[in-house]
Symmetry: C2
Subunit: 407 residues, 2 copies
C-alpha cells in the first residue's frame, strides 16, 4: 500500500504559494498517494496535530483552478523554527510520531529560507533515526532571495504587480504639471529584487521611475536630496522607488530615523515601516515641492488579481517536481528553477541539496545596478522581464475575484 | 461650417476619466466638429493657450481603446476655481477670446464639484454676453459625492478596486492564526461612499470587513477601541475599513491627533493622511495584539488594471451624451446618470441644471448604515453591486498594462 503525503506552507504569503500547493497535491494524487494531508499553520500546527484532508477538500478541477488564483496561504502559515535535534529531541520525537500515525511517506514544505532549514533538520533527523519518510522543499518567496534557484515562485507576480502599479502611479503623479515628488516604498529587507522591479515600468508609454534605491547600496541622505533636487530641475514630477530596507552607511535602517519607528505594540514589537514617509517629509521640508509617500504594503504580495501566469505555472511545476522527486526516492532536496535561456525564455526544474540553500540570502548583483546608482541595467531587465509575462484570467463572481477558502 | 469643440479635465484623476474624454471626442467627431481640441491642465492651461489637437492625436481605434484603459487625466488636470465675473471680468474676456480664436462652439469639462462650478460660471457669463458657445459638464469623481446623478463615473472602478483588494487583504491577514488587527485607510474626505464599498468584499468565499467607519458618523476613540476588543474575542484577525475623513465628535479629523499630521511641506501644506496609522498604533498600545495600517493611497483612484467595465462604459456614455446635448443646443447642463432599476441593472443618462449640482455634496444616507454603526445595509449593497460588474481586459505588452500618453 502506497504511503500518504503531507504538505505545509510557511513564512510570508505570496500570490502563488497556493499554486505550488495545487501542484504538490495533484502530483501526489496522480502518483497514488491515498491521502494528501495539509498541515494547518505549518509545522507549528502539525505539532498540535492540526491537519486537514486535502483529498477530500480539493475534490474538483474548479477547486484547483481557484487555488491557483487565491493569494495567501490556503493552509495558514507559521514562523516557527525547529530547535536543533541535540538541543531538544522531544519536538522531533513528537513530530515523527504524528507523521507515523498519519501513514506519511512524503513530506513537503513550501516556503523560504526558514522552511528549507526545517526540511534540512527533519531529513537529517530522519536519516539518523532510519525513517523512510522523504522530505522535499518547495521554494516560495516574493523576495527572490533563495540561493541555487534562478528565481523563486512568488517573485514574478510581485514584480508584475510593482511594474503595473508603478506605471499607474507615474501617470497619476504627472497630472497637475506641478513640482511633485512621489516616493514609493517597496518590500525587501535585505535584498532589493522587488524594488529593482520598478525598473520594469519604463517603456514607450512610460518614462519609468526616476530613481531606484536598493538595500544593497548604502543610502546617503544628503546625496539623495541632491539627486532629487537635480532631477526636479529637469522634470516636475519625480517618482522614486525605495526599498523598506535601505540602510545608512552606519548600518541603521533609514526608517529608524523616523518618529513612527519608535512606536511599539503591546508585545514590544517595533514597527519597521515608514522609510518612504520619512524621506517624503524630508524632501518637502528641504525643497519647494510637494511630496507624497506611497507604501505598496501587503498588496505586492497578495495582489493575486494581477499575477504573472509564468509565475503561477512555475509555482505549480515546482510543486509537481517535488512530488515526483519524493516518489522517486529523493530526500533532503529542494526543487530549484533552472533557466536555460532568456529569449526565448525557457526554464526547467532541478534538485539541489537542501543544506546548500538553507540560511543563505541571494542579493541583487551590484553589477546590475548602474554606475550612478539610480537605475537597473539591461542585465536585470533581461532577467526579470520573462518572469512577469502573461496572465491567468481571474474568475470574477459578483464583480470581484473569487477565491477558495475554508480549511 | 460646423464649429469646433474643446474638452478639459479637472480635479483628481480617476481610472475612467479618459473614457469620458474618449466619449466626448468620438461623439463630437461623428457629429461633424472639424476639430476637437483638448485643454492641457484644464481651464488653467486654456488661459495660457495650452491646447492640443485631439483630432490629430487620437487618429486610430486603438488610441480610443488605450484611452479607455489609461488612468489619470490624459490632458492633465488643475484645481483652478474661476473668480466671480463681477470680481474679475478680465479672466472671462481672455477665455472667451481664446475660445473665439479656436472657433469653439462646444465646451466640455469633465470633473467634480469645482468643475461644475466652472461650467456654471462660464455658461452664465456666456449667456450674459450673447455668446453662442454651449457649455456642458461631464461628471467624474471617485468620491461619488455629486448631486442629482445616481452615481458618478469613476466611483464604480474605485469601489471594485476596494472590494478586490479588501478580499486579498483579508486573506493575507488570517494567515498566521494570531491576534491581528488590520486597519485599511480609504479615501473620501466628507462622503463615505468609497469606505462603504469595503462592504462589497463579503461573500461565500470571504468573511468581509469586520468594521466600517464612515465620515458621516462621528468617531469616538473609546467606543472604537471597545468594539475592536470585543470583536477580537470572537475572531483572531480583525479587518477594519476606515475613511481618511473620520471626525471626532468635536469636528476635528482623527488624523489631526497624529504627530505626522503636523509635518508641513515647504509651501506650508498640511499633510492630512495617517488616520489608519494613528488608530493602528493606538490599538497596538492598548491591547495585546499586533496591528497593521494599510493605506490604499492613490491606487484606489488610478488602479485602471482592475476597472469596472460598467463604469468605463458609463463614463464613455456620459461623454457622448454631453456632445449630443451640446450639438442639440443645450447649455448650462450636466449629464447625469439615471438608474431605472437595480436588478436587472438598467441606467440611462439625463440632463440636469448645472446650478443645482455645483457646490453641493452628496453623502451616504445614514439609513444605509446598520444600527450598530459597523457595516452597510442591503440597500447600499443593492446600490453599489451593479456598478462594479464586469471587466475590460487590459492590453498587456511586455507583461504590463499598456497606456496612451504624450499630449
Amino acid at each position: 500500500m502506497e504511503k500518504n503525503a503531507i504538505v505545509g506552507q510557511s513564512g510570508g504569503p505570496t500570490s502563488v504559494i497556493n499554486s505550488s500547493l495545487a501542484g504538490v497535491f495533484q502530483a501526489c494524487s496522480m502518483r497514488g498517494a491515498p491521502r494528501v494531508y495539509g498541515m494547518l499553520n505549518g509545522v507549528q500546527g502539525l505539532l498540535e496535530e492540526r491537519v486537514c484532508d486535502l483529498t477530500e477538500r480539493l475534490s474538483s478541477y474548479m477547486d484547483i483552478e481557484l487555488l491557483k488564483r487565491t493569494p495567501s496561504s490556503f493552509l495558514g502559515s507559521c514562523r516557527y523554527k525547529l530547535p536543533e535535534p541535540d538541543e531538544d529531541e522531544s519536538v522531533y520525537i513528537k513530530l515523527f510520531g504524528i507523521l507515523e500515525k498519519l501513514g506519511i511517506g512524503y513530506f513537503f514544505y513550501i516556503g523560504g529560507n526558514d522552511s528549507m532549514d526545517t526540511i534540512g533538520k527533519l531529513s537529517e533527523y530522519g536519516k539518523r533515526t532510519g525513517s523512510d519518510i522523504r522530505f522535499i522543499g518547495v521554494p516560495k518567496t516574493i523576495d527572490n532571495d533563495l540561493m541555487l534557484t534562478d528565481h523563486t515562485p512568488g517573485f514574478g507576480s510581485a514584480a508584475k504587480y510593482i511594474g503595473v502599479v508603478m506605471k499607474e502611479i507615474i501617470r497619476d503623479a504627472t497630472v497637475y504639471g506641478n513640482r511633485f515628488v512621489t516616493i514609493v516604498e517597496v518590500m525587501g529587507r535585505n535584498a532589493g529584487w522587488l524594488t529593482a522591479s520598478a525598473a520594469l515600468a519604463r517603456g514607450e508609454d512610460c518614462e519609468g521611475a526616476d530613481l531606484i534605491c536598493l538595500p544593497e547600496i548604502p543610502f546617503h541622505i544628503d546625496r539623495f536630496l541632491e539627486k532629487v533636487e537635480r532631477m526636479q530641475k529637469e522634470k516636475q514630477s519625480v517618482v522614486i522607488a525605495v526599498s523598506e530596507g535601505v540602510k545608512l552607511p552606519d548600518g541603521r535602517f533609514v526608517c529608524e530615523l523616523s518618529d513612527d519607528h519608535r512606536t511599539k505594540d503591546a508585545f514590544g514589537h517595533i514597527n519597521l515601516t515608514g522609510t518612504a514617509r520619512y524621506l517624503s517629509n524630508l524632501v518637502a521640508r528641504n525643497m519647494p515641492t510637494r511630496s507624497r509617500a506611497v507604501e505598496l504594503s501587503i498588496l505586492q504580495r497578495c495582489g493575486a488579481h494581477i499575477s504573472s501566469r509564468t509565475d503561477i505555472t512555475e509555482a505549480f511545476q515546482v510543486g509537481g517536481a517535488a512530488a515526483k522527486a519524493a516518489f522517486e526516492g529523493k530526500t533532503a532536496m529542494m526543487v530549484a528553477l533552472d533557466r536555460l535561456s532568456d529569449d526565448p525564455y525557457q526554464c526547467t526544474t532541478k534538485l539541489v541539496d537542501i543544506k546548500e540553500v538553507a540560511n543563505y540570502e541571494k542579493k541583487v548583483p551590484v553589477e546590475w545596478i548602474n554606475e550612478q546608482r539610480t537605475d537597473m541595467t539591461q542585465e536585470f531587465l533581461s532577467y526579470a522581464r520573462p518572469l512577469i509575462q502573461a496572465e491567468l484570467t481571474p474568475i470574477f463572481i459578483n464583480g470581484l475575484t473569487q477565491h477558495i477558502v475554508g480549511v
